[in-house]
Symmetry: C2
Subunit: 154 residues, 2 copies
Amino acid sequence: MLRPVAKAAKSRKRDLALPHHNPRRTREEHSHETAQDYVEIIAELIAATGEARVIDLARRLGVTHVTVARTIQRLQREGLVTSLPYRSIFLTGSGRKLSEESRSRHETVVDFLKSLGVPAVVAQSDAEGIEHHVSRETLKAFVKHLRKKERGRK
Amino acid sequence: MLRPVAKAAKSRKRDLALPHHNPRRTREEHSHETAQDYVEIIAELIAATGEARVIDLARRLGVTHVTVARTIQRLQREGLVTSLPYRSIFLTGSGRKLSEESRSRHETVVDFLKSLGVPAVVAQSDAEGIEHHVSRETLKAFVKHLRKKERGRK
DNA sequence: TCAAAGATGTAGCCGAGGCTACAAATTCAT
DNA sequence: ATGAATTTGTAGCCTCGGCTACATCTTTGA
């Protein structure tokens, strides 16, 4: 029968007062997440092995070296890392700063999840995804909760 | 000087025992997130206004109708929605099922955040992102925490 | 009723992030 | 020191999710 498109829609001119999603920042946002993941891992690799190579990143991320190489080019354009052909990767000042912020936030999220009784492995894995979506306020709430637990245990 | 790539890397044959990220399911995963967002919103729209139109989805998501139209095509391929040219969008059985799962999970996350003292608006917004990264176990921990609070208040 | 407004469709562009295949450079081991 | 193994680079292809521009269909209102 193909009922007309607007049926229950007569009384609505527009603006149907349902919550709008945050103006789909998604695309740009996602590239930020990737950047954070990368600089975080680069920092870890440097700390652990003295250097960060494309192949190491690729293994850590579970992608091919090609994907990593292209992303590193982008991060270089964005001023987060430096790299020379066939040499390993270094963080710039802002790259290091970002990596530290990310690490700290990541740690908070992991600790918080563990404080809820989530198994360490799961907490670690979930935090990977969650950390990029935790606002200032929520992060603060996490910290507060952690502090309370802390006090409780003393 | 260009120090050689491998320097501190001598003692490492491979497998440097740093945690690997979950085999970058990212790409496919992300399209799942999108699918969930869409079916959730479609269900809401149908509940609220009797129908789900491309333009409504576009407004809710803050993207153009073109993006929505293309995504709807994909969801149709995947058997989550049905749509005919110039007609509004319907959920299939599995679409409805997915939308309900998503809604429930979303609700849990929002309630959980609010229970931590996160302002409702922020909780709502953060949940959008977080809900897609919460594992079974973590979700269970959220529920447990909510129940405890519940009991505390009685 | 019929023209204007609104919604939908289509073509084509872009960047991010996947991939394979192959070439070239570097490192390692004999 | 040199050949094999490893690592890096490059070309080219894909999908997804953004977009603009423009065509077409539907709904609405005078």
